[in-house]
Symmetry: C2
Subunit: 212 residues, 2 copies
């Protein structure tokens, strides 16, 4: 979501939403306040600090240090934005003001990485979703084709998919109706990473073996 600057510097160029930090708020409160002027903040499914951008010449003087955030909105919400603001496809972004292009770059990298070691992918989808939708989001964020079969198995083996029982109507060209799922958070947040080097004794599920 970009906003067309009205004033100099970089007037009429697209830039990320944001603004100054007030003395009585922390940075997350601040960015949520700034965003509230653009969209309904309750739509945000995830917000996290991205990085501090602080090159002395990143903006014309006076010097400004920016704390950039990564915010996600589920794909089902149709966020209405004010006149001077517009949603863009990340693959076809216009030229942007200041160092905002590199901020977007970092955000895309962060999201793609986190899809691998967290469950952040669910923050991209509505509360109820089909596997195909989820796969499309993964594909878009990662930049390569993802198999729905594999995605479903990997996620359901982690006990993250809970079928709602309902189905979604097929598209205009027919096809089997897709089953609906929701994110099954068994005390897990979408941001929790799963370890690769696990604690000892955690590879052994209860039971097993065989006393035939």
């Amino acid at each position: 979501m970009l906003w067309e600057r009205a004033r100099e510097p970089h007037a009429h160029r697209w830039s990320l939403p944001g603004g100054g930090l007030r003395v009585d708020e922390d940075v997350e409160t601040s960015i949520r306040r700034q965003l509230a002027e653009k969209v309904d903040v309750r739509q945000l499914s995830h917000v996290e600090q991205l990085a501090v951008f602080s090159a002395p010449d990143r903006v014309p003087p006076p010097r400004v240090v920016a704390t950039a955030f990564l915010g996600l909105v589920p794909s089902d919400v149709d966020p209405e934005v004010p006149e001077d603001t517009r949603w863009h496809c990340v693959d076809t972004l216009p030229s942007m003001a200041f160092d905002h292009a590199s901020i977007v770059d970092r955000a895309r990298h962060r999201l793609a990485s986190k899809l691998s070691y967290t469950n952040l992918g669910f923050a991209l989808a509505p509360p109820e979703f089909t596997i195909s939708l989820l796969r499309d989001h993964y594909s878009a964020a990662l930049g390569y084709r993802v198999s729905a079969t594999n995605l479903q198995r990997v996620l359901s083996r982690r006990l993250l998919l809970e079928p709602t029982g309902g189905t979604a109507p097929p598209g205009p060209s027919g096809g089997r109706p897709a089953a609906l799922f929701r994110f099954s958070a068994k005390g897990i947040k979408v941001t929790d990473p799963f370890a690769v080097l696990r604690p000892p004794g955690s590879g052994r599920p209860a039971g097993g073996g065989g006393t035939p």
Copy 2:
């Protein structure tokens, strides 16, 4: 590494090294400059932004926003520090000034997480190291026992371990001398994450099959 504050507020309490950002430097340059007053900066094997701490009341007025960093030093360097500064064990830290305890907490969490999905573990060890040493670092950072056997296999399967040919002398109580390894960075940085959902066609190593 903590530093004992000389002046109010929080005089005589331990705090993380740091200081004000100058107008002509970015935050990373700044923290490296601040650290240079304490230790030889060339010893740092890794530096990354941790997070911005910005609660309005985190320090007594006037308000200060801090960009915290995570810095790693290989375990073989014995960093000499000035009089007012000391290295502490992270498990037995003294009471700290401001919100610095929560900063340390976050740093420990970040390091433990990153050990799983990056090769940051190598930044904890000297250029040449034994598997046991590496395992000890992993165990300390993760907080649970790690098997040297498994660690070696996992890392060498990723082609990250390169034997130097040398061996390290055994400890005072004997034992087989340990082989020395170095980090084999084949165009890989210690910070590069490895994806769990891989691009299609990457599970197939060249060749394979069988035409006997």
